[in-house]
């Protein structure tokens, strides 16, 4: 059973990637997470300056997932040198997520990331709860082009653009590719709100948060399917994976790799092995030798 997949220029030992924002705040966290069997890791989104993030509550429980409004907490991009250092021998590709509001913020961080020898860059243009550095960037295809081409022209490693529910998703994707992105990460959380009926107030200190977990999975699958069908490019499918079948569904829709996030809150990091075991059983039962045969299969 061969679980290896090619994600553009990267070769992954398996398709399961830690999604950005989950335990990716420090090198020591990522190091530890790496021991659980992931095929690749994405860091938290880094910005130029350190960010405290929002006051608590930053998480809200909803019936089919979570809302979060962490507020892009991170220690600032210069910390990435230390992150790199402690991940020297981790042996799996590390993707650095970058957030910002201006083109030069993205390029400054990106060139630093490239120099440090990380394996890929993910441009987070889709955070639904931070004004000025989130969703609205990705909503504007021309600005997307500026950011992506700015970054792509100065780095040697692959660039992925992380998208959300933008006004015109296909335009955002198209401009990302025009700008030199190798592929797309889809999707980020979806803007949402939860009110506690006894407190009679929004739960999150930021009022709005991003919905993740099983709730968004069918929407994410739709978007991956659409992008694959239109562009046939490398895609990291993210959104609501809670077990192996969701991963297979993403791959059948056209994802070459699959990010997991929220499920870690419930099942813990052991979920990676559970997922990989499920995939192996499936491939055995269904007679597939190479997982990569399945990429985009449902589009046939």
């Amino acid at each position: 059973m061969d679980l290896r997949v090619r994600l553009g220029k990267l070769e992954l030992r398996n398709p399961i990637i830690l999604a950005s924002g989950i335990l990716g705040l420090s090198g020591s966290q990522l190091r530890r997470v790496g021991e659980y069997g992931f095929g690749g890791l994405t860091t938290k989104s880094y910005t130029i300056e350190a960010r405290r993030g929002y006051d608590t509550p930053i998480l809200a429980y909803v019936k089919c997932g979570l809302l979060n409004a962490v507020g892009l907490e991170n220690p600032g991009y210069r910390e990435l040198a230390r992150v790199r250092e402690s991940l020297k021998d981790v042996g799996i590709p590390i993707i650095v997520s970058i957030a910002g509001s201006k083109v030069d913020e993205f390029t400054t961080i990106a060139s630093y990331v490239d120099e440090l020898g990380f394996n890929a860059i993910e441009l987070n243009l889709s955070c639904p709860h931070v004004e000025g550095m989130g969703l609205e960037l990705g909503d504007d295809p021309n600005y997307v082009y500026k950011i992506v081409s700015g970054v792509s022209s100065i780095v040697s490693i692959p660039v992925y653009v992380k998208i959300g529910l933008h006004r015109d998703i296909m335009a955002t994707v198209g401009k990302s590719l025009d700008g030199g992105a190798e592929g797309i990460t889809a999707i980020n959380t979806i803007r949402a709100l939860a009110i506690d009926v006894y407190a009679r107030k929004p739960v999150l200190s930021n009022v709005y948060g991003g919905l993740s977990g099983p709730a968004i999975h069918p929407i994410a699958v739709r978007i991956v399917y659409d992008i694959y069908r239109e562009y046939g490019i490398p895609i990291i499918g993210v959104g609501g994976v809670s077990s192996w079948d969701d991963v297979i569904e993403f791959i059948l829709a056209g994802a070459s790799a699959v990010g997991v996030g929220t499920v870690i809150a419930s099942k813990g990091l052991d979920v990676v092995r559970e997922i990989l075991d499920g995939i192996k059983t499936y491939m055995m039962d269904e007679g597939f030798k190479e997982l990569s045969e399945l990429i985009g299969y449902a589009n046939k």
């Binding site: 530890r32 998480l59 006894y198």
Partner: protein, 259 residues
């Protein structure tokens, strides 16, 4: 062991009503809260207490029986100050329980050590240990007599009870860790919660004397379920909210090295 399955519905807020308030000292109060929903909560586990409009903060209850929950809170910043302003009849919101508590399922002699409001989960653990009928000594370390929290309660549980005050105003004078060093040899297990310096010293003592310990650490807790990464213990990759807050000597020695 680590980051294993969790029922995410602990993230749903529930609430209780303050039934009684105890003023221990000018900076520490306890609140007896009648809870609306029974949720299992082991000694050493923590809740996130939320006052809508303000932040939520992690607290390790000092007593819980499924219906009554007591929290013991030190005034420190805006949220704990607001908690101190609460009155009988007020509603408090909370979610949890989160993390791993003290494991007291093994038979043996327990040395229970609480420093300051860190005595909260320790006194709750003392209740459990008495239920099981194990031998235990309860040691509380504070600055001065008036800061003492649960001495009478520990005595009424029938435990050997020692108060250690820095100024010697009552009980034994000195640092709680110095006292512990004198008696540690007589115990199989040490359970501790308190300021960081005390915890690290206890770990050192336990390692030196070959006593198994479980220590409860603090960190900035935001998500409570091991995804945001804000509660990392030093640079170990360990998460206070999920791998802890109570860590045992085996794990601490492995990750913190020889201290």
């Amino acid at each position: 062991m680590y980051l294993t399955g969790y029922d995410i519905s602990i993230l749903r807020f529930t609430w209780g009503v303050i039934e009684d308030i105890l003023n221990h000292s000018k900076s520490i109060k306890s609140f007896n809260i009648r809870v609306r929903e029974p949720r299992d909560l082991d000694p050493g586990q923590f809740i996130m207490l939320w006052i809508p409009g303000l932040e939520e903060v992690p607290l390790s209850p000092s007593y819980y029986d499924g219906s009554l929950m007591r929290i013991t809170v030190m005034k420190r910043g805006p949220t704990t100050e607001a908690i101190h302003r609460l009155r009988i009849g007020d509603r408090v919101f909370y979610r949890g329980p989160f993390g791993n508590g003290f494991k007291v399922s093994n038979k043996g002699r327990y040395l229970l050590v609480g420093g300051g409001y860190g005595a909260s989960p320790i006194i709750y653990t003392a209740h459990k240990i008495r239920e099981y009928g194990y031998e235990a000594m309860y040691v509380e370390g504070v600055k001065t007599e008036s800061d003492a929290l649960f001495i009478d309660e520990a005595k009424s549980l029938g435990l050997d009870t020692i108060l250690v005050t820095e100024d010697g105003s009552s009980g034994i004078k000195g640092l709680v860790t110095d006292y512990i060093e004198e008696v540690i040899n007589e115990y199989d297990y040490l359970l501790g919660c308190g300021p960081e310096g005390m915890l690290l010293k206890l770990l050192e003592l336990c390692n030196r004397y070959g006593v198994e310990c479980q220590l409860s650490f603090e960190a900035i807790v935001k998500c409570g379920v091991g995804i945001c990464g804000s509660c990392e213990l030093y640079n170990t990759g360990l998460l206070v909210c999920r791998d802890g807050p109570v860590f045992d000597s085996r794990i601490l020695s492995r990750y913190l090295g020889g201290v």
